[in-house]
Symmetry: C2
């Protein structure tokens, strides 16, 4: 599933994937890989911009994305927002070690999730060291991602930020030349620590230079991927 921490002969899996929920034992039975409702996995739907949970809510559930995109974010008292991550199909979010969520989660677009009761995860974990190893590994990947994001936020220019976002999001696309964005310019701006105007201007600049094509606001064609890679320090 992931680069094993302790000796293991399991296969490595894509780093973007979240916790392998099939590893979660529920009431003694192994949960299936499919996201159909089980003893604890409940399928939920959220409309665009709907709140899934709020920072400091009691963290009784965690979630796996079946379809759609979720954003996790923090707010300052005056409404300034920093998006920590976008979660898409297969990603797990809402896992906490403490009693409360440390950030808010909202639906970027209409999406389908499976929720799991944390309490039962705790029980699984108590019985299963392997499950805790996965939890630890999941957490450490979150740390690594957050550190990379901090480097971007603290030390990259607007152009470098936007390029990094495009390349990152391109990996979520099936067609690797056409990016279809689930999020608005505001979401991108709040993820990159910029304003919508700067994001828009930077994309226009990349289009003017023939690096990308803006088919529509949400559809971006990568015309010169090598140039884009070169801009990504």
């Amino acid at each position: 599933m992931l680069t094993s921490f302790a000796p293991s002969n399991r296969q490595a899996a894509p780093a973007l994937q979240g916790l392998p929920i099939q590893g979660l034992r529920m009431n003694g039975a192994e949960a299936t890989q499919s996201s159909r409702p089980g003893p604890t996995g409940t399928t939920l739907h959220f409309a665009q911009d709907q709140e899934i949970y709020c920072e400091s809510d009691e963290a009784n559930l965690f979630f796996k994305v079946v379809s759609g995109v979720v954003r996790t974010c923090k707010f300052l008292y005056d409404g300034r927002r920093q998006i920590d991550a976008f979660h898409s199909e297969g990603d797990v979010f809402g896992v906490e070690a403490s009693a409360e969520y440390s950030y808010s989660a909202e639906a970027v677009c209409d999406c389908t999730l499976v929720s799991y009761r944390r309490q039962e995860m705790d029980v699984s974990a108590l019985e299963d060291t392997g499950f805790y190893r996965q939890l630890f590994s999941y957490a450490m990947r979150s740390v690594a991602r957050a550190q990379g994001h901090a480097l971007l936020l603290g030390r990259k220019s607007a152009l470098e930020k936007v390029v990094a976002f495009l390349l990152d999001w391109a990996r979520h696309s099936t067609d690797n030349e056409m990016i279809v964005l689930a999020m608005t310019r505001q979401d991108i701006a709040d993820y990159l620590g910029l304003t919508i105007e700067t994001v828009s201007r930077t994309l226009s600049l990349l289009e003017r230079d023939g690096v990308i094509g803006l088919m529509s606001a949400r559809q971006i064609r990568i015309i010169r991927p090598a140039t884009l890679q070169a801009l990504n320090s």
Copy 2:
């Protein structure tokens, strides 16, 4: 130790502390709380600015700070640096889930560390679910810290950043009105995503407004803590 993830009757411990190494079993023996060299805990000294390990080095060891301060950071190809965190007495760093370190670690000032062999931690972890729970909890606290840092880097002004740093570092001081800094302005700047000039100017501004007193470059007196708190959104 922390708000328990799984049911537990252990006592809570300071959140700033890292992994409680005394929970680490070594060769079947419980390691002592003291940092004296044991079967796996080896005391090491590092001089100011000495490299402890480098990003992408093989992560065979992890460390606990006995005295002094350590910075963990990432670099861009052109030398731009983002400091992820400062680690002081009692903090653990260098714990990884993957084979390689995800960032570099350097001594901010002369410091004493205890190193532990990761391999033996793996063995302990296999035998001890409680230890993995601690690892997971440690990792999740790292995530929470990194998220807070991202909010600071992406959405706060220079003034807010410097104030946040002062308040954060004040908690490391014994005297809660006098901050003694272990790091240079360059370190502070690279932690906050600013330049040394901006850090210096912002500190001067706070002094001019009577909020702090700059006794020397490394000694800062907090004169109006309430004002400082108010500036920290």
